[in-house]
């Protein structure tokens, strides 16, 4: 455990804030993870909750959920032969309950393992 008392108060507050954001994996986050993993068998899946970046937006007025904006980076063989729009639709269809309920924005990077190895 890091001794926080040596840090100044403002840095300490920021540190605690950031670690809370990083530690928080809410039910929507978990559900996205589970559904994408089960359906697409990804070789890589990263889900980042970016809701705090958008909390002040006008569109988020009256919204209390802390799980409104996500960034998903996913690598899966299921995207092979599919255009970008089809890949996005596939993900949106899998997550239609989450999208309808609380998620306002889902930023998607969807690649195939082949595309990843080619870009390296």
């Amino acid at each position: 455990m890091i001794n926080l008392s040596i840090l100044s108060k403002s840095i300490r507050t920021k540190f605690i804030h950031v670690s809370r954001i990083m530690a928080e994996v809410g039910p929507v986050h978990q559900s996205i993870q589970k559904k994408l993993t089960n359906a697409l068998n990804p070789t890589s899946l990263e889900i980042i909750n970016e809701s705090h970046l958008h909390a002040h937006h006008q569109a988020m007025k009256d919204v209390t959920s802390k799980e409104t904006h996500f960034r998903v980076s996913i690598v899966s063989d299921h995207f092979e032969g599919k255009k970008l729009i089809q890949r996005h639709r596939l993900i949106y269809d899998l997550l239609n309950e989450e999208m309808a309920a609380s998620v306002h924005a889902l930023s998607i990077t969807a690649k195939t393992p082949k595309e990843i190895s080619e870009s390296n």
């Binding site: 937006h57 006008q58 949106y92 930023s107 998607i108």
Partner: protein, 160 residues
């Protein structure tokens, strides 16, 4: 919702009706999964669907966004506006709708496009996608090709 109320919401940009013949099948005719339909089929009335059909057919570029091009209310909407500007697109050819001003439109357009988020871009009657896809097409050059093909931007001088 009538077309009149829909156009009242629209920015006061000129309608360009000369290219309606090149209407391409729009996204709402795509395959729907039963679950998506059951969850989302609550907002899209027949009259709104008809208005949206006409709007995306009559306009070269239609952008459904949060806020206005001058004052976007969401970073994703802002990014799409910036990309369209970067492409050199004349915004008098872009019909924009601020979905924050109309909840029926906000929810209805999601079902219409079978796409759960805003912003949404239509070019020549065809659903293009949201911010990620527009950005991706901008980077790959696909967007420029599409706009050039549609006569919406002029070819820039190629650098050596």
């Amino acid at each position: 919702m009538s077309l009149r109320s829909l156009t009242r919401l629209a920015r006061p940009f000129a309608f360009n009706t000369s290219l309606t013949s090149s209407f391409i099948k729009n996204a709402s005719n795509g395959i729907k999964s039963p679950l998506v339909s059951s969850i989302l089929c609550r907002y899209l009335s027949e009259s709104l669907k008809k208005s949206l059909d006409e709007t995306v057919q009559k306009n070269d570029v239609v952008l459904f966004m949060k806020g206005t091009p001058e004052r976007p209310q969401c970073g994703f909407s802002r990014a799409v506006v910036q990309i369209l500007h970067a492409q050199g697109l004349d915004f008098s050819k872009v019909q924009t709708f601020n979905v924050l001003e109309d909840n029926e439109l906000r929810e209805g357009v999601k079902e219409y496009s079978q796409w759960p988020t805003v912003p949404q871009v239509y070019i020549k009657g065809e659903f293009i996608g949201g911010c990620d896809i527009v950005l991706n097409m901008h980077q790959s050059g696909e967007l420029e090709d599409l706009l050039l093909k549609g006569g919406l931007v002029e070819e820039s001088e190629k650098e050596e």
